[in-house]
Every structure is written in structure tokens, then in C-alpha cells.
């Protein structure tokens, strides 16, 4: 059995932990600590990008229960109206996602209907690559759209890395950069933080012996060294802040997360947001890597229900956690999936690869409600739903209006914004 990477990185720490070390600058942490939050940016909004791998069946997530065609197209998978959690007189959430219903009515969840793109790819790899690169059809596009944002923002030397991936599956391609190294954070103990104790930290010597001037490398005349020192100082300050957040989380009444992998991931994201490290984009994945759990070609009913229960309950816990610390107004969570599924069942109690699907937006600064109308169930795109909103318009809105980045530079084109944000 191969040792997993995380274990490899943890083995050596044993009793001592990262923070048991003094700062490698030979300064105490109080000396090296910087102001708690990087305030260089004009905004501190955070985007959580949640990938639902496999192609979520939007039609059974937000169900047009009044549409006769829905019931006729899905002889075994149709969901009865009385079991749904109603959004309005036409639409209802899947029976296993009551939590979505509550969030929706509290105005913290918006449904963006019929999102997709022209000539959409029907293969997992191709479609997912299109969503990841935001350059549909460009198979050799070397970087992802978040990666592009990272390189664009990080190019200014004094800025912190603006995005991370949180989770244990391989890092998705949307984070692929040309230059910056984007970390994958599996859990906070990756950084030796969980077991760390403050009293194990040695007190560095205060006395300053006379400097032998000839020996040391002078950072004043060595910009590269000055940069390395700056980053190291910020690294240690970040680690200290994370440690404090984890310790505080154990003391205060923590919000209870359900025992799902996704919930654990979102809890880690919440801790990282609370630590205020200047990370603007968190990417996470739900569906177990690979082709993904949402690829329900057979026996869909029970599996899709289980997934939606985990998704909605994990998100609700995340929202409660953020709301408790009054952080929700700074956070916007957006789901996406490579495609929706076919309107008609496939004879194996499942559905096949489709086209457009709804996106879910969760946060404290949303307009709320339904955005766009439900796509027609009779006017189809190769058996799937036709799109109304190009997903790149969503990306552009997130970049320009939520994060305050330059979407033109990152997406290479100007897209008309979608109106889902409260003005901020």
C-alpha cells in the first residue's frame, strides 16, 4: 500500500510541528508578524468555486413539476410534486435537498437557470476542459481560467497568491497556471497546524551579538533575498493565524458539520476564510475525482438523491458557520458541472450527457430568487436542455463585479454581466 502524500509530508513532524520552529528569519513571530489581513486589495470578497463532477442532472435538482413533459420523459426517475421543496408554483428542489429550500427562501441561494455554451461538448473531458479554460473548443489551451486570474493578479510582486485548491482529489485544470505554484490543501494538518501548541514555540534569543559585516548577505542590496524574506515572513504569519483559528474553533461552540467528505472540505475553507489570509478564490470538488459521482447513467434515483443530500447539507453547515462569524457577506459560493443530462431517461433508470443546467449561487450578497426562466423541455439541444446564459458571462461577472479583477485580461473577451449580485 503506497503511503499517501499527506502522510509523507507529515511523518517527520512527529512531536514537533511547524510552529515549534522559530521563524527562519531568526526573529520572533511578534517581530515578523505583519498586519493581520492583507489590506492592499480594494476588496476582500471571496469566491468558492465548487465543481460537481460527472454532469449534474439539473432537471431532477430543480424540478419543473407542473410540466407534463417532465413526467412523460421520466417514467422511473420523475419526482412527485408533493415530495418537492417548492421554489414557486412551477419549480421545486429535489426531495433530498430540503436545505436548499430553506436557503432559497432566506435569500441566500439563487438559482441561475439554463447555463451552458454554444456547441457544447458531450464528453466529460472535453466539456470539463471547456468549463475549466473558458475557451470552448480550444483543446490545447494550456491554462485554466482561475489559473489565468492567479497569474494576472500575482504578477504584482507584493501580492499574495490569490487562489488555492482545497480537497484530496487531483487539482482541477481550472487552476492550471503558467507561472505561479498553486497549493492543494488537503487539510489544515498539512501545514502541521492541528496538533501544534503555542508553548512549544521556543523563544528566540533577544540579545543581538555584533554583526560580522563581511559575512552575511545584505538584503538591502539584494532584492531577491529581500523578496524571499518577505514571503517567508508572510508564510510564518499565515501559519500562526491559521493555528489561532483552529485553536479558537476548538474552544468556541463549533458549528456542527455533517460527516461527509464535502462538509469537511467546506469546513477547511471556512477556517481559511476566517484566518483572513488574502485568499480570494477557493476551488473545491464534489464527486470523488475521476469522471465523477454525478455521472448517473444507471440507477440514478438513489445515487443522485444521496449526492444532493450531501451537497445541500454540507453547504448549509458552511453557511451557518460563516454567518456565525458574520463572514457570509464576504463569501459567494458557486457550483458548476460540465453539463446537464438528457431530458429523457435512457432505459437503464439513468440519464445521459446533456447540455445546459442550473448553477447554484450561495452567499450573503445575492439578489436572491430565480434568475432566468426554465429552459423548454420540448425545444432541445440534442436531447439536453438549451442554454440561455453563457457560463463565461457568469465568470466575467464573478471576476469584475465580485472579485474586482479584470475579466477582459483573464478571459480574453468582454462578456455581458449577469445580474445576480446585490450592488456592493
Amino acid at each position: 500500500m503506497p503511503i499517501r502524500r499527506r502522510d509523507f509530508l507529515k511523518i517527520s513532524l512527529g512531536g514537533s510541528t511547524l510552529l515549534a520552529l522559530s521563524s527562519p528569519l531568526g526573529e520572533s513571530l511578534s517581530q515578523s508578524a505583519e498586519p493581520p489581513a492583507p489590506q492592499r486589495h480594494d476588496r476582500d470578497t471571496v469566491l468558492v468555486l465548487l465543481q460537481l463532477s460527472g454532469g449534474n442532472d439539473g432537471l431532477n435538482t430543480v424540478v419543473p413539476f407542473e410540466d407534463d413533459l417532465y413526467h412523460r420523459s421520466r417514467p422511473t426517475l420523475r419526482l412527485a410534486a408533493q415530495r418537492l421543496h417548492k421554489l414557486d408554483a412551477q419549480l421545486g428542489f429535489h426531495p433530498d435537498a430540503p436545505a436548499f429550500g430553506r436557503l432559497y427562501h432566506e435569500g441566500q441561494l439563487s438559482v441561475l437557470q439554463g447555463v451552458g455554451y454554444p456547441d457544447s461538448d458531450r464528453n466529460h473531458d472535453g466539456a470539463m476542459r471547456d468549463w475549466h479554460t473558458a475557451r470552448p473548443g480550444l483543446a490545447l489551451c494550456p491554462t485554466g481560467w482561475v489559473g489565468g486570474a492567479i497569474d494576472h493578479v500575482y504578477d504584482a510582486a507584493d501580492r499574495d497568491l490569490p487562489a488555492v485548491f482545497v480537497g484530496s482529489t487531483p487539482t482541477p485544470f481550472n487552476l492550471q497556471t503558467e507561472k505561479a505554484v498553486v497549493p492543494a490543501i488537503r487539510s489544515l494538518s498539512d501545514w502541521g497546524l492541528a496538533q501544534s501548541t503555542a508553548d512549544a514555540r521556543p523563544l528566540p534569543s533577544r540579545k543581538r551579538p555584533a554583526r560580522s559585516a563581511a559575512a552575511a548577505l545584505p538584503s538591502q542590496t539584494h532584492p531577491l533575498l529581500a523578496l524571499a524574506q518577505h514571503i517567508t515572513r508572510r508564510a510564518w504569519a499565515s501559519a500562526a493565524r491559521l493555528e489561532a483559528v483552529v485553536a479558537e474553533g476548538r474552544r468556541a461552540n463549533p458549528v456542527e458539520y455533517p460527516p461527509f467528505g464535502l462538509a469537511g472540505t467546506l469546513q477547511t475553507v471556512a477556517q481559511l476564510i476566517r484566518a483572513n489570509l488574502g485568499i480570494r478564490i477557493f476551488a473545491a470538488e464534489f464527486g470523488g475525482g475521476g469522471i465523477g459521482g454525478f455521472d448517473t447513467h444507471a440507477n440514478q434515483a438513489a445515487n443522485h438523491g444521496a449526492l444532493l443530500r450531501q451537497l445541500s447539507e454540507s453547504i448549509v453547515a458552511f453557511v451557518a458557520d460563516l454567518r456565525r462569524d458574520r463572514l457570509l457577506d464576504r463569501v459567494l459560493l458557486v457550483t458548476f458541472s460540465e453539463f446537464g443530462r438528457t431530458v429523457a431517461e435512457n432505459g437503464r433508470r439513468g440519464t445521459d450527457h446533456g447540455a445546459a443546467a442550473p448553477l447554484f449561487l450561495v452567499g450573503g450578497k445575492l439578489k436572491g430568487g430565480l434568475i432566468g426562466s426554465h429552459p423548454s423541455l420540448s425545444d432541445l439541444d440534442g436531447g439536453g436542455l438549451k442554454f440561455q446564459t453563457d457560463f463565461r458571462r457568469v465568470y466575467a461577472t464573478l471576476l469584475d463585479h465580485w472579485l474586482g479583477f479584470d475579466s477582459l485580461a483573464i478571459l480574453g473577451e468582454r462578456f455581458e454581466p449577469v445580474d445576480f449580485l446585490e450592488s456592493i
Binding site: 467528505g261 470523488g288 475521476g290 465523477g292 448517473t296 440507477n299 438513489a302 444521496a306
Partner: protein, 610 residues
């Protein structure tokens, strides 16, 4: 490396502890001196039964011949240890083997407390020798402490007529008659002294949990262990281990066992030696899952049902026989493994295609009976094709169908679709595909798929895909899915034999695992080079180091004839029995492990030509 007498001292003590000797007549049994709060206790009632084989000159000679042993004993630390041992032998005017018997021969008891307390009780057969040794070691300790300028570290204290000694801050001990008591904290020693004098004292021997465990362990055990699960139940580590895993395969395999442990108050282990076999028996008072519980799919309900005996095939490496109701298992998936991983969904999608949309739970798993057997066996390669660079053993699953006539061909169709799909995807990646063929063995027809032989077959090792000739066969109401048609044929024969002469009735178990040491060794030896290279990059060893390490493993396997594990016996909710056939090295040791030094794979008629 700095000389450190403290290390030698520790080593000397540990040898005493490891080399265990029945009970002094003048003292009550040691378990009456163990506080009731102990969470785990190990008792060696008859240390000699273990000492005799371990201390035999034969074993010493055999071990001495091993290169690995020679490497280990060449270190300065070992030489230092031997020097101290020699000195002690001189002082006590006896050899260490005899001394060990005299010092430990009447029993050893080790108890662990809930907060990491440790208490060791050793009953010596020769009280004088114990006192003598104690004096010598105390002398060592005093000298060492003085050298480090901490002369006051070695202390002796009088408490209620007992003299307690301590050589350092993390150790305290006392000798009462022929019993030596060692603890990691002085207060434990005091507690024991109080306990032994208190007629109302709550000691282990009087605890109902311990008594229950002791009854289950039975008489005649060489060693027994008792674990107080009631006390440990709330530990997060144990909680985590017992909470349902989200991995379906682990859930399938561990069913029953985990539930029993969850409800158990105690766990008892007994070790027995019976004519060259080492037997470990485990028991708990835990309850099996109730029929309505999701984990009940592994509990045989009707009398006479349970895991079947493993099928005997030539060159068998391992056999696993399970009693698992797959239908019940899969129907309870939302409870048993709620996470929908990519792998699970992929499996469902594929099954959906192979079985043309049948419902997996009801219409597929519902067609199988709970008797499931898995076999792993050595295979012999067709010399005309060649031997793969990495050798995989053949493996197969044997299922039993409820309605073989109606469902058999459905499975066959699904199987051929699966092969077709493999071929399609392999073709997409420009890789070779499988050729489908039919074969007949006795009265059974089967499907086999094979790879076209390599163009230039000959001496060079061939691709690993030639380990596989996937086959399906349906003898009677059985269904064989095998990685080679050779193994499928042998299984058809084995099922025939089983039909003709059913084995003796066996106790009802839900899991039966058997391993054949020599065959396991042979397959490892066949892949020796591959494993050596893997060890080199995984651990950063040199080639000789990696070879020595793997050689050690092969040598260990030489010591195991066969191993057999039964789980879920009727004697208790969780009964487990592990039987190891030991082949301890004799004066004439086996050759040091080398490539292909294992038993040659037995004839395994993998038929290449059609």
C-alpha cells in the same frame, strides 16, 4: 556513538522482560494485584512453553546463519549488549538461558492503565537469583547516576513494609518474595501495595468483565490478553475505527466484526501451542447485528448455512470464503457507505450497461446466494508465449446463483459486453485487445478471452497483460469469474470433487481466510527483482539493502506453513480463530532467501492453444 550504560541497562531489563518463567506458592496470583481499572492485561501463565522454542540452540544457530541477522549483530550496540550480558552471566555464575528460565519461569503479567500507567509483575522461580541480579543492576545504576552527577537519582523508599526502588524518574520497582513489580510511576507501586493488603480492594481478578473474558479464553492458553472495551469505547481513535467506513469493500469485508466490537464490553485473546501450530483465539461479548440492521447481511441465519470450505486448487496461495448477502448489502448502501464516489458511480454505470438496465440491487445481486469464495493461485505460463516481467497470480471469484438456468446466460452476456468494452477503450488508446473464444472442460462450457501472442516470443520477459486470460464458466449453480482459464478449469474440477465428497461439517463462520506460506513466498520470489527495485526507490535503500530486507521477509514466510483465520464462530457473537502452522528453523537452516528459491509453482494447466 557515545557509550551509554543506561542503554545497556535498559536492554538488560528488556531481555528479562521478553525472555519470560509459574506462580510462587507463597503469593496470591498476580491478577489479584492488578487494579481493576487496568484497560489491557497480558498474562503469560506458562512462560516455558514459549521459552523452550525461543531459547533453543537450534533456533539460535538457524538465526545466526541468516545474513540479515549477521548484519544486525555486527553493530556496536549489539556488541555492547553482549558484553553486558557476558558480565552478568559471570557474576551470576550461570548462562543467560538458564537464568531467564529461573527468573521468569513462574509467570509474567503486564497491565496497562487508562492514563498510560504500566505495571509489570514477574514471578521468578529462583528468588535468590532475582535478588542477586537486582543488586548488580542497582550497582550499575548508582555508578551511572554518579557519573552524570545525579547520584540522588537512584533511591530506595520504605512503604508499608515494602522497599520500593527507583533507578530514574520514569521507573519504580519492588521485590516481594519471588515477585518483581515494575511500574512507570512510583504511585502505581504504592497503589499495588495498598491493594494487596486490602481485603476489600478492587482487583482485576474480581472484576466480572475480566472473569467473562477469562472464561472465554479457556484453559491451557500459553498466553492470554484481556482488553476492557467498556473503558476504551469512548476513545476517539477506537470510535473512528468502529464507525462505518465509506469504502464499500471494507464494509463488505468487515461486516459483523465491527458491529460486534462496537457493542462489546471485553475482548479476550488466548494463545495456544499445539504440535507446531500457533493458535490465537479471540472472543468478545459483543452482539451480532440484529436481523433488521443494515450490517446483518453477513450473519448466517438458517442452521447449516455459513461460509463454505475453501476450494482446493493446485498452487493455491490464498482462499477467502465469505458468507455475505450481496442483495442485503447493496440495498443498505445509503446507510453503509453514504458517499457516492466516482468509482461507485462508474461501477453502477458499467453494470447498467452490461446488464442492459436491470436493477443492480434487485435483479442482479438478488440473483446471487450468500456463499462467495475467492481463490488466488500460482500460474504457469505457456513457454511458447513467454513469462511476463511482472508475474501476477491467477485469481477468481466463485459465486452461487439462485436461478442458474434463468440468470446464467444473462451473466454470460454481461461478461462478453464487458470484454467488448475493454477492447473498445483499449483500441481507442491504440493498445491490443482481447480475442473472445469458447472453451469446454468436463461438461462445462465457458468463455475465455486472450491476447494475441507477442510477435517475437522467446526469452525476453513479455508484457504484464499476458498474466490475464479472463474466463467465465458456469458449472452447476456456480458462477466462476477467473483471471485465467487455467484456474477456471481447476475450479471446475474442485467443485466436482466437492460435490462428490462434501467435507466434514464445519462450525458456522461468516469469514474464512486461508494462506499458504510457501506459495506466497514463491510468488514474491518470482517477482524478487521487481520488489527490490520498488524497495530501492520507496525507501532509498541500496540494492544489497533492499535484497536483504526482502530476503528477511522470504525467510519469515519460510517459517509459516499455512495460516487460517475464521471469523464469526457460534461460540460467541465475535469469535475469531487464527491458526498458524510454524516451521521454525532447525539446526539445518533453509537456504538464505534468493531469487526463485521458493517452491516451484505447481502444474497449473494454463492452456494456450485452442
Amino acid at each position: 556513538m557515545r557509550k551509554n550504560p543506561l542503554i545497556s541497562l535498559t536492554l538488560a531489563w528488556s531481555v528479562l522482560a521478553v525472555v519470560p518463567l509459574a506462580q510462587p506458592q507463597d503469593l496470591p496470583p498476580a491478577n489479584q494485584w492488578i487494579p481493576e481499572e487496568a484497560v489491557a492485561v497480558i498474562e503469560l501463565a506458562r512462560p516455558e512453553a514459549l521459552l523452550d522454542p525461543l531459547l533453543s540452540q537450534d533456533l539460535a544457530r538457524a538465526l545466526g546463519a541468516l545474513p540479515v541477522w549477521q548484519q544486525r549483530t555486527a553493530t556496536p550496540k549489539y556488541r555492547e549488549f553482549m558484553a553486558v550480558l557476558g558480565y552478568l552471566e559471570g557474576q551470576l555464575s550461570t548462562d543467560w538461558r538458564t537464568a531467564a528460565r529461573k527468573l521468569i519461569g513462574d509467570g509474567v503479567t503486564l497491565a496497562l492503565g487508562p492514563q498510560g500507567e504500566i505495571l509489570l509483575a514477574v514471578d521468578a522461580r529462583d528468588g535468590n537469583l532475582l535478588d542477586q541480579l537486582h543488586q548488580i543492576l542497582r550497582g550499575f545504576a548508582v555508578a551511572e547516576a554518579a557519573k552524570q552527577g545525579q547520584a540522588d537519582r537512584v533511591t530506595s523508599v520504605e512503604y508499608r513494609g515494602v522497599t520500593g526502588h527507583s533507578f530514574g524518574p520514569k521507573e519504580a520497582h519492588a521485590i516481594l518474595g519471588r515477585r518483581l513489580l515494575v511500574a512507570n510511576q512510583p504511585k502505581i507501586l504504592k497503589y499495588v501495595v495498598d491493594l494487596k493488603d486490602d481485603p476489600q480492594g478492587r482487583h482485576l481478578a474480581a472484576s466480572p468483565l475480566y472473569q467473562g473474558a477469562a472464561r472465554a479464553a479457556g484453559k491451557g492458553a500459553v498466553a492470554t490478553a484481556f482488553v476492557n472495551l467498556q473503558a476504551l469505547r469512548d476513545r476517539p481513535g477506537l470510535q473512528q475505527a468502529l464507525t462505518a467506513a465509506s469504502n464499500p469493500l471494507a464494509t463488505l469485508l468487515l461486516a459483523g466484526t465491527r458491529e460486534a466490537l462496537k457493542t462489546a464490553n471485553w475482548l479476550s485473546l488466548g494463545m495456544y501451542l499445539e504440535g507446531g501450530r500457533l493458535i490465537l483465539k479471540a472472543a468478545t461479548d459483543g452482539q451480532p447485528p440484529a436481523p433488521a440492521q443494515s450490517a446483518a447481511f453477513a450473519t448466517p441465519r438458517e442452521p447449516g448455512t455459513g461460509a463454505l470450505p475453501n476450494l482446493a486448487v493446485p498452487g493455491a496461495i490464498a482462499g477467502l470464503s465469505l458468507y455475505r448477502d450481496l442483495h442485503g448489502f447493496y440495498a443498505a448502501k445509503n446507510v453503509l457507505f453514504p458517499e457516492r464516489t466516482s468509482g461507485l458511480i462508474f461501477f453502477e454505470n458499467m453494470m447498467g450497461i452490461f446488464f442492459s438496465g436491470l436493477d443492480l440491487t434487485e435483479q442482479v445481486f438478488g440473483e446471487t446466494r450468500p456463499e462467495i469464495r475467492l481463490v488466488v493461485a500460482a500460474q504457469r505460463y505457456d513457454p511458447a508465449i513467454g513469462t511476463p516481467a511482472v508475474q501476477w497470480p491467477a485469481f477468481a471469484a466463485i459465486l452461487r446463483l439462485r436461478r442458474p438456468a434463468a440468470f446464467g446466460e444473462v451473466v454470460e452476456e454481461a461478461w462478453q459486453k464487458a470484454i467488448g468494452l475493454v477492447n473498445f477503450t483499449q483500441g481507442q488508446q491504440a493498445n491490443p485487445g482481447l480475442i473472445l473464444d469458447r472453451f469446454a472442460h468436463r461438461d462445462t462450457k465457458g468463455t475465455v478471452a486472450y491476447y494475441r501472442p507477442p510477435a517475437a516470443s522467446g526469452q525476453a520477459p513479455i508484457d504484464a497483460r499476458y498474466n490475464f486470460r479472463p474466463a467465465l464458466a458456469r458449472p452447476g449453480d456456480y458462477l466462476i469469474l477467473s483471471s485465467t482459464d487455467g484456474l477456471a478449469r481447476q475450479l471446475i474440477d474442485a467443485l466436482d470433487r466437492e460435490q462428490a465428497a462434501p467435507g466434514p461439517a464445519r462450525p458456522v463462520t461468516h469469514t474464512l481466510l486461508e494462506l499458504e506460506g510457501a506459495q506466497l513466498r514463491a510468488i514474491l520470489a518470482a517477482n524478487f527483482d521487481h520488489l527490490v527495485r520498488k524497495n530501492m526507490v520507496d525507501k532509498g535503500t541500496t540494492q544489497p539493502q533492499a535484497e536483504a530486507e526482502l530476503g528477511m521477509l522470504l525467510t519469515l514466510l519460510d517459517c509459516v506453513g499455512a495460516a487460517r483465520l475464521d471469523l464469526g464462530r457460534p461460540s460467541g457473537p465475535l469469535g475469531a480463530r487464527l491458526e498458524l502452522e510454524l516451521k521454525l528453523p532447525t539446526a539445518d537452516p533453509p537456504k538464505p532467501a534468493q531469487v526463485n528459491a521458493g517452491a516451484p509453482p505447481p502444474p497449473n494447466t494454463t492452456v494456450a492453444a485452442r
